[in-house]
């Protein structure tokens, strides 16, 4: 599809998504779609390093935690608006991702995945065990609350859910655009190359270590932004939720089912599975804890068994076929006239 075609579809999709709050006005439903977009955002952010660069980071929630805690602590103790705190958190997360990546990217796939798990688990425990950083209270295991300021858009707090929806929609669009741009840029080509054959990529001039670090930094940056958003939405940060294995797993599972390493795959996976998860939770009630995760787990296993490349490619192939059929019948109708 040409760039123009893609742009048209893109605008259409975003416009459709933007119209959702006009129809779904109940807070419960709005919250649900916000979470759907949120997880799609996280999956897309993970995908930049986990899909494009092919590095299986299984402890990515650490970066979300860095984002959330940074912006919240800065807000509580210096009054800095989370809009800026978000960027600070993103920057810190990017730097840490590079520091973590430098020694770990040398390791083979499984070792790397393991290192990310060890790092993230350790980080979560640090968050749980630390009550103060200097003079700042960080909450420890009890968690950190974001002070309620009412309707203050400049401080990223809103009355009602709709504004949050637009914020996360904007973030999702941004991360998808960035992914799309990377995919067709030199970095994207180098990342794909090193995924397929790292030695060959190096022989062709790619400093693969640097490429991976760039991907890691960008991915961590966006994941951290997500962490801040979460903090502002839920107004409560606790280590097991924001820095835990569940969140890490979710990001990965959603991206894989949708299509690791593609631009839209993680969005698809995020939207599809989270919707399913939320529907199941709604139907079967809150007494069934963790049912959505069971679904994701099974979803990933099924995906790996039958469609390891994810659902996006078959889906796009189906859409293209549909488009051809439509075009052909339209052409036939015209000649028939």
């Amino acid at each position: 599809m040409s760039i123009k075609g893609q742009a048209i579809w893109g605008f259409g999709a975003v416009a459709a998504l933007a119209a959702v709050p006009l129809f779904l006005t109940q807070p419960y439903y709005l919250h649900t779609v916000i979470m759907i977009l949120f997880y799609a955002f996280l999956a897309s952010s993970w995908n930049i390093v986990g899909g494009f660069a092919g590095q299986l980071s299984l402890g990515h929630s650490a970066y979300a935690a860095i984002g959330g805690y940074t912006s919240t602590l800065l807000f509580i103790h210096t009054g800095l608006t989370p809009w800026v705190g978000m960027l600070v958190g993103g920057l810190i997360a990017a730097i840490i991702a590079v520091l973590v990546g430098m020694p770990t990217f040398r390791l083979r796939g499984a070792y790397y995945a393991l290192a990310t798990v060890a790092f993230a688990e350790g980080f979560r425990v640090i968050l749980e065990s630390t009550k103060h950083v200097g003079k700042w209270d960080t909450g420890g295991a009890e968690g950190l609350m974001v002070p309620l300021k009412g309707n203050m858009p400049s401080l990223m707090q809103f009355m009602g859910k709709a504004p949050y929806y637009y914020v996360i929609l904007g973030m999702l669009v941004l991360v998808v655009l960035v992914s799309w741009y990377i995919d067709r840029s030199k970095l994207g080509y180098y990342l794909t190359a090193l995924r397929e054959d790292e030695e060959a990529a190096q022989a062709l001039g790619s400093n693969t270590a640097i490429a991976k670090l760039q991907a890691a930094a960008i991915s961590a940056f966006f994941t951290a932004l997500g962490g801040t958003f979460y903090a502002q939405l839920v107004r409560f940060l606790e280590p097991p939720a924001i820095a835990g294995a569940d969140l890490s797993s979710q990001m990965v599972l959603l991206a894989i089912v949708g299509g690791r390493g593609t631009v839209l795959g993680p969005v698809l996976g995020g939207v599809l599975l989270t919707t399913l998860g939320e529907l199941t939770r709604a139907k079967l009630g809150g007494s069934l804890l963790g049912i959505h995760l069971i679904l994701y787990g099974i979803g990933v296993m099924v995906a790996i068994l039958y469609k390891p490349q994810g659902l996006i490619d078959p889906l796009m192939a189906g859409v293209r076929k549909l488009a051809r059929v439509v075009n052909r019948s339209r052409a036939a109708a015209e000649t028939g006239r």
Partner: protein, 245 residues
Amino acid sequence: MVILEAKNLVKRFGGLIATNDVSLSVEQGSITGVIGPNGAGKTTLFALISGFHTLSSGEIWFEGKRIDGLKPYDLCKRGVARTFQVVKPFASKSVLYNVTVGAFARTNRTAEAERSALEVLKLTGLYEKRDALAKSLTIVDRKRLEVAKALATGPKLLLLDEVLAGLTPREVGEAVELVRTIREQGVTILMIEHVMQAVMALCENVHVIHHGVKIAEGTPMEVTRNETVIKAYLGEKYAAAAGSQ
């Protein structure tokens, strides 16, 4: 003018000496061959020159500057490109994509890299197949692709590692033409080869490696008459026969 100079290269893997005091030089614009029986250490030599293995000792000079110790991607930027004996295509991507990766060595812009890649594809006869997936190519085309990728990086020195292996005589002929065309573009070529037909047809100078040691150097004619060389390939009997010529 000498474009590549390798001085006293030694490479040890634990107790094994893969490369034992090998020195060679390559004239700019030439097609130079490296031949030798299997397991002689030719590919190790290439790996040393292209930065995939580190030297145990020795020096490598390229265009008057020392390059030993540099990483493969830095060497590529300087103009040293290589192909791999076991071809390494980016299997699930198209031929054009594969070559474009190489072209990015000279530019940062995708459009420019693609244009460059298309030119290289035309040169190597893969233009028609530019949208085919690399994994769907025949072995001949995969070899072409391997060369095309390296060529797209705009090298001054191209290391070809047994690109002719497994080709039919007609395909060998086509490949020989391609190598000549590449040289005409101003690229110096250093090639490891077993297919003697090509070595005789193409190489101006040949180095012979055996057990990690250089045992002879000269024109293809000189080298194939050399007693030590024949002994290395075929054993004592034939050496004696050649000696009596």
